[in-house]
């Protein structure tokens, strides 16, 4: 569905990604893990068109999309739940959700999807008229996910959805991701620091280190891989004892 070849990108003169290649098949949950500054968010931002790639190709359903503007990327069905949630704090929860359906004009479809979002996140219905800026972190994350779902994504990109959430909400976010895939059949590309839990809900994963893919594989294999532990805690293979 999504196939990235030899992608290099970065801010200013420097490069944050060096020849990255990944693939996401329809119906899969794929996770990108790696330490801070490894280039995970840069990769998502490049796919979404916020950042122009310096080299390489991004193919979505066989179609070249690199260099397109963000709004046209959304139009073809790649929707991102941005890092830091990207809530429009000075609008109400309802208006935020309306913005999710910005490019759609099928009124009935939107109403139906809105109901499904409320089923998933009943809390949002209660807060409908409230200013989104006053929501708690967890509620904002629900709003961000709900809003993205309203755009009818074919591929959902999620940038660190568990970041800054309390442990209970972290749990909830991963349950939601699991459900999105199992029940609703979404294809998801996920960026996470929370490696164990992310690999728990994903089919496959890639490990990024200073802008390069250093490891890829099935989730279970990655979970047991010592390299992954090392990347996070700097342990040499010998001292691993988990």
């Amino acid at each position: 569905m999504l196939s990235i070849e030899d992608l290099s990108a970065g801010y200013g003169k420097g490069l944050a990604l060096h020849g990255v290649a990944i693939k996401v098949e329809k119906g899969e949950v794929v996770v990108l893990i790696g330490a801070n500054g490894a280039g995970k968010s840069t990769l998502l931002r490049t796919i979404s068109g916020v950042l122009r790639p310096k080299k390489g190709h991004i193919l979505f359903q066989g179609q070249k999309i690199e260099g397109n503007k963000p709004h046209s990327i959304v139009k073809i069905g790649i929707v991102q739940v941005p890092e830091g949630r990207g809530i429009i704090s000075r609008m109400t929860v309802k208006e935020n959700l309306d913005m999710g359906a910005y490019l759609r004009s099928d009124k009935d479809g939107i109403i139906g999807d809105l109901e499904r979002v409320f089923e998933k996140f009943p809390r949002l219905r209660e807060r409908l008229g409230q200013n989104a800026g006053t929501l708690s972190g967890g509620e904002q994350q629900m709003l961000a996910i709900g809003r993205a779902l309203l755009a009818k994504p074919r591929l959902l990109l999620m940038d660190e959805p568990s970041l800054g959430l309390s442990p209970n909400f972290v749990e909830f976010v991963f349950e939601t991701i699991h459900e999105l895939r199992e029940k609703d059949g979404y294809t998801i590309l996920l960026v996470e620091q929370n490696a164990n839990q992310a690999l728990g809900v994903a089919d496959r994963g890639y490990v990024l280190e200073t802008g390069r893919i250093v490891l890829e594989g099935e989730s279970q294999a990655l979970r047991d891989n010592e390299e992954v532990q090392r990347a996070y805690l700097g342990r040499s293979a010998r001292t691993v004892e988990t």
Binding site: K13, G14, A16, A35, N36, G37, E160, S162, L163, G164, S166, V170, Q193, N194, A195, N196, Q197, A198, G200, T210, R223, V228, Q229, R230, A231, Y232, L233, G234, R235, T239, E241, T242
Partner: protein
């Protein structure tokens, strides 16, 4: 103890970024601060250097309270720092950037700058320049002295920033993610620079995500998660701490 952090609390518009954090930084040690994104590490640095004020709690430097003291005065007391995203002064040469580090150790005012009869370089200026040059050599970049700072490669800019902080001859050096965006070879160089700084008898307090670097050079490591300290100890202790592993990798 060169730096004592006592029950520090920081709120931003009602959100608590740090809650009751306490930490002691021992003199002449390399002390690392680690933790997942958003744990409050940079916030703590900003409180120490004075970019933010604490909501509650106190910070002592060499025994005297510094919370509430203006940032530039803390610098004068001997706290130097670098930033997560490099902040060099772009319109200036590398050398000038490092010379700025000596600002609070020097005196010449505007009048003295202008009203002098000799066309020779003033003594103080010469000393400042030579001092800056020494620090550039220390980080291995003397050949870049006259380059415009923003034209340097990223890793070199980081080193210049460290040289600038060193030029003010701090007793405590705060390094905020010095290795971020560096490749393994550059990280290696950085590693040796940090060790050298420590060998000169300076205390280094650093935030870093590159665990190989952290585990390799730190004497003590403190771990922050959700604005609170969850662990502290030697690298070996931290690597074996299950709470830390969970904070980083998540629950299994």
């Amino acid at each position: 103890m060169i730096l004592e952090i006592r029950d520090v609390v920081k709120y931003f518009n009602g959100f608590s970024a740090l809650s009751d954090v306490g930490m002691d930084i021992e003199e002449k040690k390399i002390h690392a601060l680690i933790g997942p994104n958003g744990a409050g590490k940079t916030t703590l640095f900003n409180l120490i250097s004075g970019m933010y004020d604490v909501t509650r709690g106190e910070i002592r430097f060499k025994g005297a309270r510094i919370d509430g003291v203006k940032p530039y005065l803390r610098t004068k007391l001997g706290i130097g720092r670098t930033f997560q995203i490099v902040r060099l002064f772009g319109f200036m040469t590398v050398l000038e950037n490092v010379m700025l580090g000596s600002h609070c150790k020097t005196k010449a005012g505007l009048l003295k700058t202008f009203f002098r009869f000799s066309i020779r370089e003033p003594q103080e200026e010469k000393a400042t320049r030579e001092n800056a040059m020494r620090w550039l050599e220390f980080v291995g970049l003397p050949h870049q002295a006259n380059e415009i700072a923003s034209n340097l490669p990223h890793a070199d800019q980081r080193l210049v920033e460290i040289a600038r902080a060193l030029a003010l001859e701090p007793d405590l050096l705060l390094l905020d993610e010095p290795a971020s965006g560096m490749n393994p070879k550059e990280t290696e160089e950085l590693n040796s620079v940090i060790s050298k700084i420590n060998q000169m008898g300076k205390t280094v307090f650093l935030i870093e995500h590159n665990m190989e670097l952290v585990m390799g050079i730190s004497h003590v490591i403190s771990v922050l998660n959700f604005g609170g300290k969850i662990a502290e100890g030697t690298p070996a202790e931290i690597q074996g701490n299950s709470e830390v592993i969970e904070a980083y990798l998540g629950k299994r």
